[in-house]
Symmetry: C2
Subunit: 592 residues, 2 copies
Amino acid sequence: MSERSHCGFLSAEQVGQEVLLKGWVQKRRDLGGLIFVDLRDRSGIVQVVFNPDESKEALETAEKIRSEYVIEVKGTVANRDESTVNPKMLTGEIEVIAKNIEIINTSKALPIQIEDETDATEEVRLKHRYLDLRRQSMQETFLLRHQAAQSIRNYLGGNGYLEMETPYLTKSTPEGARDYLVPSRVHEGEFFALPQSPQLFKQLLMVSGFEKYYQITRCFRDEDLRADRQPEFTQVDIETSFMSQEEIMAMTEEMLQNVVSEVKGVKINLPFPRLTYEEAMERYGSDKPDTRFDLELVNLSDLVENSGFKVFKQAVESGGKVSAINVKNSADQFSRKDIDKLTEFVKIYGAKGLAWLKADEGTVNGPIAKFFSEEEVEGFKNRLSIEDNDLLLFVADSKQVVAESLGALRSKLGKELGLIDQSAFNFLWVTDWPLFEYDEESNRYHAAHHPFTMPQDDDIDKMTNDPANVKAQAYDVVLNGFELGGGSLRIYKREMQEKMLSVLGFTEEEAKEQFGFLLDALEYGAPPHGGIALGFDRLVMLLAGKTNLRDTILFPKTASASDLLTQAPSEVSQDQLKELHLQLLEKEAKSK
Amino acid sequence: MSERSHCGFLSAEQVGQEVLLKGWVQKRRDLGGLIFVDLRDRSGIVQVVFNPDESKEALETAEKIRSEYVIEVKGTVANRDESTVNPKMLTGEIEVIAKNIEIINTSKALPIQIEDETDATEEVRLKHRYLDLRRQSMQETFLLRHQAAQSIRNYLGGNGYLEMETPYLTKSTPEGARDYLVPSRVHEGEFFALPQSPQLFKQLLMVSGFEKYYQITRCFRDEDLRADRQPEFTQVDIETSFMSQEEIMAMTEEMLQNVVSEVKGVKINLPFPRLTYEEAMERYGSDKPDTRFDLELVNLSDLVENSGFKVFKQAVESGGKVSAINVKNSADQFSRKDIDKLTEFVKIYGAKGLAWLKADEGTVNGPIAKFFSEEEVEGFKNRLSIEDNDLLLFVADSKQVVAESLGALRSKLGKELGLIDQSAFNFLWVTDWPLFEYDEESNRYHAAHHPFTMPQDDDIDKMTNDPANVKAQAYDVVLNGFELGGGSLRIYKREMQEKMLSVLGFTEEEAKEQFGFLLDALEYGAPPHGGIALGFDRLVMLLAGKTNLRDTILFPKTASASDLLTQAPSEVSQDQLKELHLQLLEKEAKSK
């Protein structure tokens, strides 16, 4: 009996056996001279009974224990009286009659209750993260996280992908989000950067001939934080040589199918549906559409280009568009006031207004109904499949504003009207991304994905003259409206990479300075290669049915990028700074 | 035939089949109007033959290819003529008769030959790491590294250990080696630190009740580099609750046995031998003894405490010791000059000299032989098992100097005399470590392991008065003379942790400031816990039979902590620094 048993694994099969248990006191109740303790370990909870007939000494010790004390109990598994069987508890048929108890450690009264539902503020939870993590829902999330990682590793390892570790102390690159910098002690005035992703290293591994690489790795971005961003996050990073876009997508699908099956017991159908970027923007107003509900955007531009309703006509004439969504069978649920609120909502996204119609008795009503001809109304009916009591919401604006405002409205209504099947896992590919994005502020083109993405063969000629219309050999995988990951085929010839950097505004010298090692590598027999990177925290969040990314990370940072538990970041000594050849900038120097 | 075949996996079984191959040109030979190409991919090499009878066009294209071109070949597997079978090649029985070839990418002439033995300098190899990694021995090492990681993950996952990710942006601690610092943009004047190990986080996970944690994780130390040190290194990090030292050691042994078996096909016997720290120092002069050969240090102090040889007598009298090693059957191989060289060698370690005797005709000779009585000589003979032609080497000095100098001499002679079985994997535990180390420079005690290590129960009373003699519940695992990893049981009560920090010289306030979150956590039902951390790079090095740690890391840093490939670290812009509230220290300010 020196072997420890686990609370949650005991069952009626062990009745009569002596067991040794170690764990935490979830709850103690005193009743009729007996003490009942819910004893918890990682496996679950079992009831332990202290009973003067069994051991007076144990009972006396048990009187000292409080919630979250750590105890060791020896006792005998017994059936509960039928009247006290607890069907809500996995071990509810049995209890352990204690012969012996030892208090291993005590606990002060807790700032957080170790219960599944907590009303503690997030601040308190993060400050006492080690207690917050004791709650069952947290324990389950991190078990799931482990299982998801294991499933991915098994799949990739089984398919010839080698786990390979790329450096964390790397070179700072000027592209994209801000790097976290690490000053060098040895090299005065120089800095390492923490990687935003292992992109270049994994490409170099392909040049090295490893052919199949993966890594579940940490990445770092010093961005202004939002609810779903963390300064450090985990990425499932994959790269492969000689495989086509189709092959990489098929591999990714199979891997994700595997994870969902092993972790959730849900079978996802393959292949995943696909949308081009253009189609996604047109039909969902989003490049990461949530397809768990319809409420699609319908383009009506061609119907209204000569409309008597000037707002619509002018939008189309000036190169914009008119789209609408049909909120089925809901006209009676939306008052004028409700619609005013929706109008305020779309204005956040730049829309100047929200036009609306309600369908009733075979036709459409509303303040703007009078502007439309019979043909136009017929057109709406057909294209939007209008039935009585449908609410139609229109935005007429530039293409971007129509997509963003109606896309956001679609998401909002989908949630608020309960249209979303919360048990579904809707995976989706978005393909044929633009290679470049025009940045108004800096008045130049940026890489939409990253500067190593291969353009589509047919568009290569347009790179210099018409970059806006060059499509990339890139693919994003979307799950339930979240961008789960993105991948692409990479440029594997020096000339093409140089051309790409030049379109992005790099001089020859800058290109060499920043990416010389890559350009060189591409001249020594670089194979065609491509890959994908998946946000692992986000995948876990969606699999665990959570809505807060911080609930999927053991020790997350707050929205202001600090760790409330250890109080990091913190000040360091002058000596430490001096060793790094640094000093803090004085306030006056800064304001210059 | 659109499915790709792999060069190294082809065999006589495929004769007659059409195959599609993609890979690199290892070598091209032109012979009698034919072209022979050794085509390489990750799986190995196969010979491809271009033959005008099969395809003139393919032959013409093949004339253009050079070493390391990336090509795609379609052809038919055929048996080689018996005369051209190459038994040194795995695929040496067959060849592929090419029907078609496509040049996918070209290659300039290489700065490094892609051959197993290279005479390129390490500088060139690191600068062109992507080419260096193409060499077969490198490919094999990283395949082995992947397999070792997989084996460890499978073992730990299968035994209930959860893979859990601790933060990389953490709080700077003043203990031990230097932290790499990461300035915060959001929190002016504050810094994160990259973790030297996840020690405190894994302990907090035990307080959280996860019970079994593991992580193969990167750690960072800004130390002055030596050949076997890297600024970032990988650690197999394990922590568990409620397990005894014996249980943790047994688990570690089984895990390592598994790795060696799966990666090398070698069966290691369990349990590993054990030495206490004291015994290891006494018998091997090392806390990480290489037990692949004998040549043990033998303590002769009691025999010579009244010796006529003053040097020996005085060493013992002043609290030091006299030890010797017996270099068996080697007296005739060591001239006076050779021994002088050994004397110079031990002086590096602080020894004032090296006494020696040679055994011949049943007695011992040498310049100091005359000082010893017959009993002393008899004593030497018995204790050192002296036979004719043995060479006996003595050091008489402080205990530390005797251990270090004779320990180093033992290693040197073991290597030079070829006493080491290079195929052996000699694992070993070193236990009962001192808890504290006295640091002359700062005139205070340091934690020998780390400040969270549990003292042995019997020694707790000595912590304040006699710290030098407190032993730790700590254990190191040693492989072939390398420290592979170290572990301990941890302090799990606040009072004990406070006591420990106080012995280490922390004021109450400093203890709270640095480790308040840990001290707090220990008050809320912390379970007894302990663990171990293994150097993964070093494990891979030893399994792969390498001697340079850099050969086990994909993109290592040089001894001056820089990356020759990407030229990191590097300068950053003034804007970047300003955002981080930093400026470079000017030289004059530094010299103050």
